[in-house]
């Protein structure tokens, strides 16, 4: 039904089962925008595929990641070794498949640790404000004065290589950005009119935090977590590349690449495949993060 019928209206009605209006709830609207966002969906698919690979690494990998076959060392990609082998004759494909576990799991642990430390600090600073905020943020200023990768490197250089050291290095180096972002998210919500109005009708403090503030800050946080995941994986690979990440023979992608870089000119496959995997994974997380941001931000329709 409408005042006049234009081709556009007819087309719309046809598509929408004769109805003139399509109504979306906010959540559905965000979901719709997310699913229509090609980059986000591609990113999500890549991540899901990587997760599957990581979980079923045992079944998927043709060889054990430590299996050394000196006879087949330095072999180029072939039917038997799809990605070729390295200088010890280890199958690079298998190492990369097992490496997915390290990258994803360690990335996740890093993000969780960052949030437990930096995130909590930021939320506390933002929620309580005043002196607490001032003290926390001034300390963060100090941390921010050291560029992130430098911070991470000095920490691993001091503590040595290994998983816990690397997690500590990455979560401490991301401390200032994580806390700042969380603080901002909380401040935005805290000063929003709907929080003000629920305070006016006497909603308790904890109910306020859990019912109003956190749900509304979640969108921003999710976007940030996804971005942080990509950043952590990047940082891990960089640290391993520089020799201050994990210890060989761990099949971490940065380490595989680092071990292969000496043979780069003669056997580029030892560098190219792990490099592609690192790039692909970070790209996937960035794509997903961007897609989520567009979906959660209704202004950019």
């Amino acid at each position: 039904m409408s005042k006049r019928s234009t081709p556009a209206i007819e087309k719309f009605k046809k598509k929408n089962g004769g109805k003139v209006i399509k109504v979306y709830s906010p959540g559905k609207d965000a979901w719709r925008r997310f699913t229509r966002n090609k980059t986000a969906i591609i990113g999500l698919c890549i991540i899901l595929a990587l997760v599957v690979v990581a979980i079923f690494a045992n079944a998927l990998a043709p060889f054990d990641y430590q299996h050394q076959d000196y006879a087949a060392a330095y072999s180029l990609p072939s039917a038997e070794h799809l990605f070729g082998t390295d200088n010890y004759g280890r199958d690079i494909l298998s190492r990369i498949i097992y490496g997915a576990r390290y990258s994803l799991l360690l990335g996740l642990i890093c993000v969780i640790c960052s949030f437990l430390t930096g995130g909590m600090l930021g939320i506390i600073a933002g929620y309580f404000g005043g002196m607490v905020d001032e003290v926390i943020m001034r300390i963060m200023d100090v941390f921010q004065a050291i560029p992130q990768i430098l911070m991470a490197i000095s920490i691993t250089a001091a503590l040595g290589n290994g998983v816990p050291q690397m997690v500590a290095a990455i979560s401490i180096s991301t401390l200032p950005t994580v806390s700042r972002n969380c603080r901002e998210a909380i401040l935005n919500v805290k000063n929003a009119d709907y929080v003000e109005s629920s305070r006016a009708i006497g909603v308790g403090q904890w109910k306020m935090i859990f019912k109003h503030m956190i749900p509304n800050a979640v969108g921003v946080m999710v976007i940030f977590v996804v971005g942080l995941m990509g950043f952590s994986i990047n940082m891990m690979a960089s640290l391993s590349y520089l020799g201050v990440g994990l210890n060989p023979p761990t099949p971490e992608w940065g380490l595989i690449l680092s071990e292969g870089k000496g043979f780069f000119t003669a056997y580029p496959h030892m560098v190219i495949f792990p490099a592609c995997m690192i790039l692909l994974t970070i790209l996937a997380f960035n794509m997903l993060g961007d897609g989520l941001r567009d979906a959660f931000d209704p202004r950019l329709k």
Binding site: V142, L150, I282, D290
Partner: protein, 324 residues
């Protein structure tokens, strides 16, 4: 304004002190005895003890820290374990290379990134926009060392256009600069694009249109400056990232800058060099941030006003205190 600058510089002192605490703490938690690094394994226990005493390692930690701060203030960043030279001298020698690569790269990145960002915002959904978006996403995701290796394999190994590693004349700077430029370019393109898209939706752009202003002038006279506010505030952070990125890029390209210096020091467990390098870059980074803050105040009149008002408020407060 001078008051603002002075205050900003004074604020540097506690921050630098904090940075020194972090660096010192890292040294304190480092397992192993530093003396092992300096002296040959054949050294006797007496020699070791003497060295410990000389380095002040037997003092309680607070005393050690005060000594450390005193040394740094005197310009003594310690002595390199490997070369036995003053770390600060070594760093200052290498600083120009980092400066050229880093700032050259960031400047190229900013100029190209902002222009690309504006162009793709103005032609939203065009093919240039899509290519720019995909490209910037790709380069933003690409870790520095991967990018560096790819560039080397294309331009040095395949095309023999520029030297792959080491310092062989000015051509050696090209690839590292491109590396840094691409990384910051992707960032600025994205920030500029989104900030510009936000600005051209604003009411005052419509007002400018209603005045009969041409589209080109609307962009140059009204949109750019406003779009630049978020970009400017990001430049400081970006330079910090690229100072860190320089470490990786210089290591890959074997360029003798501070980054390579720190990288080498890490491999050799040369702690005074690592700490000195990190402290030096932190100082540089903080100074850059102050400069960015000051320029930021010039770009954003609202901020300028609050800065001036604050200093006025302080003046009034001081006067009142004097009177009381």
């Amino acid at each position: 304004m001078i008051r603002f600058i002075v205050r900003r510089v004074l604020l540097m002192i506690p921050i630098m002190l904090g940075v020194m605490i972090i660096i010192f703490a890292l040294r304190a938690v480092t397992p192993g005895d530093p003396v092992d690094q300096i002296l040959p394994t054949t050294a006797t226990e007496e020699e070791r003890e003497a060295k410990r005493e000389e380095l002040g390692l037997n003092d309680p930690l607070p005393v050690q820290f005060v000594n450390y701060v005193g040394d740094v203030l005197r310009g003594d960043f310690g002595e390199s374990y490997t070369t036995h030279q003053n770390v600060l001298d070594e760093i200052l020698q290498r600083f120009p290379y980092t400066l050229i690569v880093c700032f050259g790269g960031v400047v190229i990145g900013v100029i190209l990134g902002v222009s690309l960002g504006v162009y793709s915002a103005l032609h939203q959904y065009s093919w240039v926009d899509s290519v720019t978006l995909v490209g910037s996403m790709f380069f933003a995701a690409c870790p520095g060392f991967v990018l560096a290796l790819v560039l080397i394999s294309i331009f040095s190994v395949q095309l023999h256009l520029v030297p792959a590693v080491g310092l062989q004349g000015w051509t050696s700077f090209i690839l590292p600069m491109i590396c840094i430029a691409l990384a910051s370019l992707s960032n600025y393109t994205r920030i500029t694009r989104s900030s510009f898209l936000e600005v051209i939706r604003q009411d005052y752009i419509r007002t400018a249109r209603a005045k009969g202003q041409t589209e080109n002038k609307i962009i140059t006279k009204h949109a750019l400056r406003n779009a630049f506010i978020p970009i400017a505030s990001n430049i400081g952070v970006q330079i910090g990232n690229q100072l860190g990125g320089a470490l990786i890029v210089e290591t890959v390209f074997g360029l003798p800058g501070i980054g390579k210096y720190i990288g080498d020091a890490i491999t050799a467990r040369n702690f005074p060099a690592i700490q000195g390098g990190v402290l030096f870059l932190a100082i540089v980074f903080t100074i850059i941030n102050i400069l960015v803050d000051i320029s930021f105040v010039y770009i954003n009149p609202r901020l300028r006003d609050s800065v001036l008002k604050n200093s006025r408020k302080i003046k009034i407060k001081q006067r009142m205190q004097k009177a009381a």
